[in-house]
Symmetry: C2
Subunit: 503 residues, 2 copies
């Protein structure tokens, strides 16, 4: 490996955070722009991460009694008409299908033909369609709870896009559930938020602050919106996913009823909850450094790269055999539900080591004639400095590899937790609050999170947003019941709210 | 369980095969029609089957060095313009996106707005887009073979649709690979066909006849199209999936080149291969009976249903405990890569047993006070007559359950193999051939498959198709090299071709 980091990213977080983010995505080969405005192509390394995220969520959803189904990509316009609230929300900027055929014009150019009587839109969500199905599928209290999830692609044209964080097409899951009582539904939506925060912590080493949205920030039509907010290294908040308790609002507008145990016709109580490929944006923003992507081991598509050092031509074959055997040995170990995945990089590129650093692979082993002779490995951990390499006995390495991976996970989690802790302030006066969030230059780092008492007034909330570009990210569960005085008015406050700049 | 089959399907295969097929889909709750023309909603039981199919294929693709990626849903029209052949093939009947927004008109009705300068079509395939990426991603012989797969939804408006067998939107995988030589590419496309036939046989108990398509039937632009054909109980052929060796045709039109080991710029050799939710159509058509769906155990979303018989109220709780314990015990066993999945149906419906028969669940256990007392289970296998139930010691059942499931798999496979064997004739004269395939009534059963020598002439092939509605499904690999005389002209024939009516 070259001493000088000639191959590292050409930009640091401190220099230009936005450019750095794009460079991490590019150099780790996670995704690239596509010819369709705002839509990305997810490359194998990026999709591998998504597959691991998906597998873990899917397993935990199923443990909660969720069944997967698949609904059509296209939605008739009149379905959207039914729910004006939602349409205003995000369905307006949709991809509209108006024609059913291509024809060649006089010049042989392909042009739309076969105009449809009723246009369709590409789903920005399947909420309406799933609700309509519920109204037919659910009959009795015996059918409840009824829990459906869909893994699918959705589209909403976005103005300013950024890979994974905001794209016009994205992959997501949307869960929709029906319950017999308000308590069951509300409790279920909280449980799903817990699934989200658990997977973020256990799989991706991402700590988050779960809580409830203020009235102004909640999902249109929801009784309560639960959210979990993570902190990027730019010290902004990222809404990583939400879970909504929808009361009977949705059931009433779509007429989803059931016969209760007492034989009465009642409306169900519903929830919905979703996370998307934005989770990968959160992963990048939480862990990556100036050398590129850093992947917590449990979510990494591959855990280990072996770089055979073949300068000694006589020993080359033996070194390769040694690497292959090690790969096989490691592949027999299961770590966090799947076999340890090892790549052997046989390319003759000089930048092999740095290529893998930038891709964020957890462990890098450099193995040459010296290691062969000593029956050892030369190891670098992605969570430590790239030059910080140690020699280890091979058998000992195999024996300890799972512990090493776990240690990396804990280390990354602790680092991310420290970032939140170090950058979250209890602020108790308006003056201090306004000073803390004083408007700064475009692209500059945000000051962090403020936990501040607030009287619950939406107008005050709007004023703060207008003055500072700062929003209430959530009323953290951890602060519930800890009453105080509003920092802005001196009025009573039920609990501290989490204020921050956000994506 | 009621003696009389009052809850079985209302129609038999013999009475009306098409209606029977729809009834199987409906009563097994696999899918339902959606409000979008030709598009279905895949219900949990149907999607569970697809998830198992997908998991098994994905595992075997990865063993062949395939990496998954995700490309955008929308394709700019000018991408399609590039490849006139393909456009003529199936892209003409596409869903065309022409607008980017909804607006409310004077009456508050939602109408398309924001006309796009260049329309998009919803992918009927991602071939062009993936090829364009290859032209940028591949540089050197060291990058080869380069093997990409995508799991995604695609759309092609279809006139006459049938759930799973032919739908306007469907789920599929498309694999695209690049190789340094013709031999490598051709061999790879054959290997992928083998993956297809292996998974069909090992997972779904579906035997198939693999072979090569005739020139007339092959994919436009392919050098060779490999296919595997299965036989439905209507004795028609179903093309279950294809794998294409595309030579350099595709690489030349999209300019996918690499620098060879000798330093020369050369075009790559490509393959493509795909299977879709049509596989579920094949599964239904192969195994189901007049009582509904029959699921081979390895592909079934759940393996076993336990039906607690709770007439004896005093023992009810103990019986339920017994069932729960059994479920837990079985859930600790892994069968074909996943835990044995057990459902306990506690509903009070009288039709529980028949509901599960129609859903095709492999094993049905009825457990009441009698079984509790005897420490036994009362078991019915879906591959046998519904009334054919046996009592078994519980411990013995748990010990043998995997063998029982394997036996069911083998039994279903043997039955399907026998259907092909019994209904495939060697036919050696034109007269006999025309008699065999004499045109029959709409909806009637086909006569089966004919293995017949043919001189390789496309006009003769077209004439047969015109006269009888019979096509060459493939030139079976098993017949390769077995020369003979053309049944129609007496000319030399290189091998027998497989003729049949097809979907």
């Amino acid at each position: 490996m070259a001493k000088q980091k000639k191959n590292a990213l050409g930009v640091t977080r401190a220099e230009d955070y936005s450019k750095w983010y794009l460079e991490v995505v590019k150099m780790a080969e996670l995704a690239e722009n596509s010819p369709v405005r705002g839509c990305m192509t997810i490359k194998p390394w990026g999709l591998g991460i998504w597959e691991n995220i998906k597998t873990e969520f899917d397993k935990r959803f199923k443990e909660k009694g969720v069944q997967n189904a698949y609904f059509p990509l296209l939605i008739p316009l009149d379905y959207m008409q039914k729910e004006a609230d939602h349409v205003e929300g995000f369905a307006m900027e949709s991809a509209i299908v108006t024609h059913s055929r291509l024809e060649k014009d006089a010049n042989g150019k392909l042009v739309p033909a076969g105009k449809l009587e009723e246009p369709f839109l590409i789903r920005p969500t399947s909420e309406m369609v799933i609700g309509e199905a519920f109204s037919r599928w659910i009959n009795s209290y015996r059918d409840l709870p009824f829990c459906i999830n869909q893994w699918a692609n959705v589209m909403r044209w976005e103005g300013r896009t950024r890979p994974f964080l905001r794209t016009s097409e994205f992959l997501w899951q949307e869960g929709h559930t029906c319950h017999a009582t308000a308590e069951c539904a509300d409790s279920y939506s909280r449980q799903m938020l817990e699934v989200y925060t658990d997977v973020n912590q256990d799989l991706m080493a991402i700590p988050s602050i779960p809580g409830i949205k203020s009235e102004s920030e909640k999902f249109p039509g929801a009784v309560s919106t639960y959210t979990f907010e993570t902190m990027t290294q730019e010290l902004k908040a990222l809404q990583a996913g939400t879970s909504h308790f929808l009361g009977q609002n949705f059931a009433k507008s779509l007429n989803i009823t059931f016969q209760s145990e007492e034989g009465k016709e009642e409306h169900v109580w519903t929830t919905s909850w979703g996370v998307s490929t934005r989770q990968i944006g959160g992963l990048i923003a939480t862990h990556s450094d100036d050398d590129g992507l850093v992947l917590p081991p449990r979510v990494a598509p591959s855990h280990i790269v072996i770089i055979p050092m073949l300068k000694n031509k006589e020993k080359a074959e033996a070194v390769l055999d040694y690497c292959e055997n090690l790969k096989k040995e490691l592949g027999e170990l299961a770590y966090y539900g799947r076999a340890i995945d090892v790549v052997i990089d046989k390319s003759d590129s000089n930048s092999r080591a740095w290529d893998w650093v930038r891709k964020g692979i957890p462990l890098r082993l450099e193995i040459g004639a010296k290691e062969l002779e000593a029956n050892s490995v030369f190891m670098a951990r992605r969570d430590k400095d790239a030059k910080d390499k140690v020699s280890m006995d091979k058998a000992q390495f195999v024996e300890q590899v799972k512990l090493i991976l776990d240690d990396m996970h804990e280390n990354l989690l602790a680092k991310a937790e420290k970032l939140i802790l170090d950058n979250t302030k209890h602020i108790d006066t308006k003056e201090e609050f306004y000073k803390f969030f004083a408007k700064d230059e475009e692209g500059a780092k945000a000051p962090g999170f403020a936990l501040t008492h607030w009287n619950g007034d939406a107008e005050l909330e709007a004023k703060i947003k207008e003055d500072l570009g700062v929003t209430i990210r959530c009323l953290p569960f951890a602060e519930a019941g800890k009453v105080g005085k509003c920092a802005f008015t001196g009025e009573p406050s039920k609990q501290r709210a989490l204020f921050a700049r956000a994506y």
